[in-house]
């Protein structure tokens, strides 16, 4: 045993030679089914996340189209009340939990190491299990729906309606356990993002040099680890109330119905920000590329991202303004809910200024990113209106709020995500998406969306409550609902064009090259699609726009980023760990390879959820045993990961 097994001076080289082959052999995933199940490659996992999330988007969209038909005119009888209730609950649950969050996790998983100049995420196995649990939870929740026991009391699942006394079927138990499972997935994913941010940035990428998408996902992840326990706990306590006779939410025995709402919204509101901030980050990074200049106000925008989330923890009560809380606390939460618009204003004006002072190039991603600004503004001002308590007492639980949340979730999540797909598709696949279809795609979605969802403001102001399966004639809502339904179908057609464009471009798109958009960040420095090891040489970063430096900064500036020459890490799967703030080289990390353990652990946890759903303690115990074994196997110290003393040195003290 020599000291060099514990430490070494990494070699420095220029890209090329035999290095790519060597790195590919080191990093390659095993072929065949085993490799497919065992891979820990962040790019593979990211793409799976994105595809799965889009599958759920389609499912949730179809659910919505069905009940939009029911609502298109008064007194329709296409759906029974029970069918309607399961459909609208599944729609909300699917879009919010199975699409909006995961799709951003997918993009971030794919992009983070590339944006940061890293070989992989900090914890690749955690990345794999995060996806597998997400998939299992999604299947679990949809299996419940398929056998007729989908959740049926709205995605926020208020008690006592969700309690055993008013909901005797297994619907709510399955929903609760599925949500807890999904919470585990999001939590471990979030921890992975935070650790990756703190430890795996390329040397020189101090925290004021990371792309805004990194800030967005980081902030969302930090919020998740504090917020998700609230909802997981709420669902667990509800499961206990329903199955083991506890009295947390049971008002007839001294429990509290509002306790549920507090726990749910302490999670729920931060979550809303968690599913928009990374998407706003995508715009902050993507939009400037098409304005031919860096983002205006990087620092303010990054700080505003964090500020939004901090404030986001202080506004949950605005979902509960009508529950009879005292006036003073309402004033506080009202003020907080209005003031939280300020950090959003920072973003809006930064994007506007970027376009104004730039020279916009009208590509499809630009159209999506630029239109997002106005959709975000509409969703923002309607949110500002609901922040005012007396006004909210009128607006809440009407279609005005439905309009608001769709402008927020579609405007700030779907539009940037589709734009981001056009933007990063060339990187992911090596092929461009079709620009002409892209125009059709954009205009169909944009017109359809506004035609479908803007009138909801009107039906809301005319008093139409949300979550009603039908309404009488004479309420004044018929025409506006008919327009809404027509618009949603047009919007759905736009989504179909998008999917068609993706499928078509996979095979027939024009070759992209490494950097088709002439973008400034590290992911564009590697090939399209990137090699399994991402970067041959660990890049060194000296600015926020490594690939624009020669054109933006003074020529005699000494500091330059390097992507073609630098540290070589090729003694097995290795990544460079850097210090948390300044990103100075700190450690050579040994990265794990293919393993089935994350998949097996995810399956064991799903088995546990099934056991709890059946209240079958044998299944629970067996699943618990599987889980313990998987964790043991996972954490077993491995020499290859630099976790154990070398056998030879076990007997001697190392000097």
């Amino acid at each position: 045993m020599t000291a060099s097994d514990y430490e070494r001076v990494p070699s420095v080289a220029v890209a090329g030679g035999g290095l790519p082959d060597r790195l590919r052999r080191i990093w390659e995933t095993a072929p065949g089914l085993y490799g497919w199940l065992a891979t820990v490659d962040h790019k593979e996992i990211g793409i799976r996340y994105i595809i799965t999330a889009f599958a759920f988007l389609i499912a949730g969209g179809v659910e919505a189209l069905i009940f939009r038909l029911q609502l298109s005119w008064s007194n329709m009888t296409l759906l029974s009340p029970e069918q309607y209730d399961q459909l609208f609950t599944m729609h909300g649950m699917t879009m919010i939990f199975l699409y909006a969050g995961p799709v951003l996790s997918g993009f971030s998983n794919y992009l983070w190491p590339l944006l940061l100049g890293a070989r992989d995420m900090a914890l690749p196995r955690l990345n794999a299990i995060s996806y597998w649990i997400y998939l299992c939870a999604g299947i679990f929740l949809y299996a419940a729906f398929a056998i007729g026991f989908g959740p049926n009391v709205g995605w926020f699942n208020y008690v006592p309606l969700a309690a055993r006394a008013y909901n005797n079927g297994p619907n709510i138990d399955l929903y609760s356990l599925g949500m807890i499972l999904l919470g585990v997935s999001t939590t471990v994913g979030s921890i992975n993002f935070i650790v990756t941010f703190l430890r795996l940035r390329a040397p020189g990428m101090s925290i004021n040099r990371v792309p805004i998408l990194i800030w967005g996902t980081l902030t969302a992840s930090a919020a998740n680890i504090f917020a998700i326990p609230a909802v997981s706990l709420a669902f667990f306590l509800l499961w206990m109330d329903r199955n083991l006779g506890t009295h947390f939410f049971d008002v007839t025995a001294g429990g509290s119905a509002l306790l549920w709402q507090h726990l749910f919204w302490m999670f729920g509101h931060p979550w809303v920000y968690a599913i928009v901030l990374p998407a706003m980050g995508m715009v902050s990074d993507g939009l400037p590329v098409f304005c031919r200049r860096p983002l205006v106000g990087y620092t303010v925008v990054a700080l505003a991202t964090v500020a939004t989330m901090v404030l986001g923890f202080g506004v949950w009560v605005h979902h509960m303004f009508a529950t009879g809380l005292p006036g003073v606390s309402l004033s506080f939460f009202s003020a907080a809910s209005i003031i939280i618009a300020l950090p959003s204003a920072v973003g809006v004006f930064a994007w506007l200024a970027t376009i104004w002072t730039g020279r916009p190039v009208f590509t499809t991603p630009f159209l999506f990113f630029a239109s997002f600004i106005i959709l975000f503004t509409i969703g923002g001002v309607s949110g500002y209106m609901t922040g005012s308590v007396p006004v909210d007492w009128q607006l809440t639980d009407t279609y005005f709020v439905v309009a608001h949340l769709h402008y927020v979730l579609i405007g700030i999540n779907v539009f940037p995500v589709v734009g981001a797909t056009y933007f990063w598709f060339p990187k992911m696949t090596g092929r461009m998406m079709d620009e002409r279809l892209g125009r059709w795609n954009f205009w169909t979605m944009f017109v359809g969306f506004n035609l479908g969802f803007f009138p909801m403001h009107v039906s809301g102001l005319l008093g139409m409550p949300r979550r009603i399966y039908t309404y009488s004639e004479g309420m004044g809502w018929d025409w506006v609902n008919l327009v809404t339904t027509a618009g949603t179908f047009l919007f759905a057609a736009g989504v179909l064009i998008f999917i068609w464009n993706v499928v078509r471009s996979l095979g027939r798109g024009a070759p992209a090259g490494d950097n088709p958009w002439d973008a400034p960040t590290l992911e564009w420095a590697t090939t399209s699609p990137p090699p399994v090891y991402n970067f041959e040489i660990i890049p060194t970063v000296a600015s926020r726009h490594p690939l624009w430096e020669d054109r933006l900064d003074r020529a005699n500036d000494e500091e330059r980023s390097h992507v073609g020459a630098g540290l070589v890490l090729d003694h097995g799967r290795e990544a460079l760990g850097t210090t948390a703030l300044d990103a100075r080289p700190d450690v050579i990390l040994k990265m794990p390879g293919d393993t089935l353990v994350p998949l097996l652990l995810a399956l064991s946890m799903t088995l546990l959820a099934i056991g709890l759903a059946l209240v079958n303690w044998w299944v629970v115990v067996v699943a618990g045993g599987f889980i313990a074994s998987c964790i043991m196997a996972w954490l077993w110290p491995e020499a290859a990961l630099g976790e154990t003393a070398e056998p030879a040195s076990r007997e001697t003290r190392n000097g």
Binding site: I191, F248, G254, K590, R650
Partner: protein
């Protein structure tokens, strides 16, 4: 161009002390677990201030400290033992590592046995009142964490006995110990809530 990035000093390789990704991951795992307990205790205090049938919050009056206080000391002692083990391996003493971890696990088991006895002797069941639900669920959550912690300590004891760790390679020890210290610290919050606050006058 490459000279600016040439490293003159060597870098540690592998899971090295607090540079290991697992250590950082455990920090944030502890954050999320701490939030879980914060929400559990929020639930306790939220329900505590709701109206209750007299004498049911806490049910049967303030719980006795007779077992809980010594048990608390046992759990804190286990943290000391684990800390002693951590310092031991940093100084290269595998013997101290193995003994300290083993002692920590044993004290954890004693804590669990006493807790189980306390559960068994409570005059109320899980579904008697909101208080009883809170008592079993919150202490139960904590016991589940102690069980996980004990299993973790046992695994680490085993691995250290097998000579997996030395004065350079001990990231696993610090990661596991961090969790164990958290489990002990969070007990203080649970203990304070259930055993001390009723004595301070928080009664319905």
């Amino acid at each position: 161009m490459a000279e600016r990035i040439r490293l003159k000093t060597s870098l540690p390789v592998g899971a090295m002390d607090m540079r290991a990704s697992g250590w950082w991951a455990m920090i944030f795992t502890v954050f999320t677990e701490a939030s879980l307990f914060a929400y559990l205790l929020f639930t306790y205090y939220y329900l505590a201030v709701q109206p209750h049938v007299p004498g049911t919050f806490p049910e049967g009056g303030a719980p006795s400290l007779a077992l809980a206080l010594p048990d608390t000391i046992v759990l804190l002692a286990s943290s000391v033992a684990v800390g002693w083990a951590q310092l031991g391996i940093e100084h290269g003493s595998r013997w101290r590592l193995t003994a300290g971890l083993g002692t920590g696990a044993a004290l954890g088991v004693i804590f669990l046995v006493v807790q189980a006895y306390e559960w068994a002797t409570k005059p109320f069941g899980l579904s008697s009142t909101p208080y009883s639900s809170l008592y079993y669920v919150i202490t139960g959550f904590h016991m589940a964490h102690v069980i996980v912690g004990v299993l973790m300590l046992l695994a680490l004891t085993w691995w250290s006995a097998m000579g997996y760790f030395n004065s350079r390679r001990f990231a696993h020890i610090h990661i596991g110990a961090l969790y164990w210290h958290f489990v002990d610290a969070v007990w203080i919050a649970v203990f304070f809530t259930f055993y001390i606050t009723p004595l301070l006058g928080l009664k319905a």
